[in-house]
Point group: C2
Chain length 351, copies 2
Amino acid sequence: MAHTRITRTAVLTFEHISEVVRAVGLDRFMDDIISGLSCAGANLDPEATVVLERSGFQYTKPDVGLIEWMPSMELGRAVGIKTVGYHPTNPTQRLLPSVMSTTSIHDTSTGQLTALVDSTLLTALRTGAASAVVTHILASPEASVVGIVGAGAQAVTQIHAISRVRQITRVIAFDTDPAVSATLASRLPLSVPVTVVETAAEAIALADIVCSATTVDIGAGPVLPDCGYLPHVHINAVGSDFPGKVEVPVALLRAAFVVPDDPPQCIREGESQQLELSELGPSLPELISNAGQYEHFQQEISVFDSTGWSLEDLIVAELALDHARQLGIGMFIDLQSTPTDPYSPYEDVLG
Amino acid sequence: MAHTRITRTAVLTFEHISEVVRAVGLDRFMDDIISGLSCAGANLDPEATVVLERSGFQYTKPDVGLIEWMPSMELGRAVGIKTVGYHPTNPTQRLLPSVMSTTSIHDTSTGQLTALVDSTLLTALRTGAASAVVTHILASPEASVVGIVGAGAQAVTQIHAISRVRQITRVIAFDTDPAVSATLASRLPLSVPVTVVETAAEAIALADIVCSATTVDIGAGPVLPDCGYLPHVHINAVGSDFPGKVEVPVALLRAAFVVPDDPPQCIREGESQQLELSELGPSLPELISNAGQYEHFQQEISVFDSTGWSLEDLIVAELALDHARQLGIGMFIDLQSTPTDPYSPYEDVLG
């Protein structure tokens, strides 16, 4: 079996990703994602970068769940496709995260799969980082109190990411499961006082910044109160990612400056399901590109409708791959190859 | 780092696939795919099996190419997504096959990636098998002469697959590159006389069954002659997979009974681009389900518009995985996992 070209696929498993993040340092890795997103958003050239809306399968058997794909392309270089599963019963029934995902990266010269990256941690990180980018632009510069509604895995990366752009002095946390909010402090990578409260209203009352990240059932939302917010509150709503699932009351959205990460996707499955396209503010890249223009919203109510933007996944996967390459972390698999004669598909089989 | 659940992803590289096919036997493996497709087509329950049209990125830089994804779901069990690159300059410029692909399989209970399978050979095999399924139904029972237009990699699996459903006594082959048609006989897994001819008209003149599998440029087709066919010819047109790329003249299509594998996809990028939806015959699964009803077309001109049906990829990948499991072939990667506490995304990083 002679092969003129062996094509190597880089694989980063969850252990490799952890190793990379430990080696780089969690704070620096988060900072890199935040600046990577800011940079990509500010320099987005629609001729060179194509970001598609995700699509996928949604189902109610065996349990409610979905499997979707989130594609983006840097023209002339790479296509990234993150495949993500969202299965809200995973943590309680299977001791698995509700969101599990992998990102595949393909060379646009050859079609080869150049890399496969476990993206469960990376997705949590980039979701935090996206909130940090928007929080940096839209939250009060003096914002210091973070209110949490939904204290699971996403809350951890939200608080961590926000701590990189604002000086957090206090977290006030609510979860429908008190056992979850009780452990939030111990799961954070920073030292900050966490007050556990019994209602969402208490969590948001003193908050300069609110993060909602719940697994509320379809049709059961919203989870945030209608009123009782500080007049300058910035809300990162990261839980909506499914038609019918919402966290923010429509009256609050209507009163707020709303930034959808990906407008058509947000209209379909984000908080913006409750709005018309004309009621939305700028998209995430538009906000980043014209940040100065929106600074006055730091003193008003703003909502980041974060459904997950496909380009975030390509950026964070390539960041992890770059660090892994430099650190010598990861494995390579001879996944795809070619017979000596590309016209002879059976060469290896008959040879 | 304590993990309550390590999730193993089965990986089949090109070498594992070759090993499986060698162990099972090429003919038996092809027969298994042919009967797997026939069976799936005959029993297709739209409530249980969801096949989506492919979508993807098409581009002209650095060269003309595309990267697409082809998703299908067996409800309550698995989602399969084949990601495929088509880069027609691969063989001449990079010694790589023009079509390279991998299939990922996801568990619909958890979202986990259960398998990653190199699908370059499997795609060629299932494309052959799909033609064999249709040829079995629509070609004359006495068909014995196969005319080939485009003698590259796909021609090999077309001829092989057809040989499993009809007694082939002769192949007449044309390729725009005489060096390619000259080696066709040596690349086949069966012994059959191959006559190399200098025009497509000669390749089809005596053929009971024609296979067109070319990399004709967008806008440069068709490649098959308008006329000169036997009155009962069955044509498997497997090359069209890109808007603007066609192999069969529209007059011939209009005169023929046309079976699109996936009608909306064929209308968009197959031979059926040249037709209205109302001019199409039954889809591949409809043809299989009602084969008896279409038997009289064995004596008339018929065209199989084969663009690639997503379910074919799930079937062939799972067939390979089943054989691999039984044979103990393949590797497992601990790709995705979970911290002890699914609410603690940083557990491994900080631990």
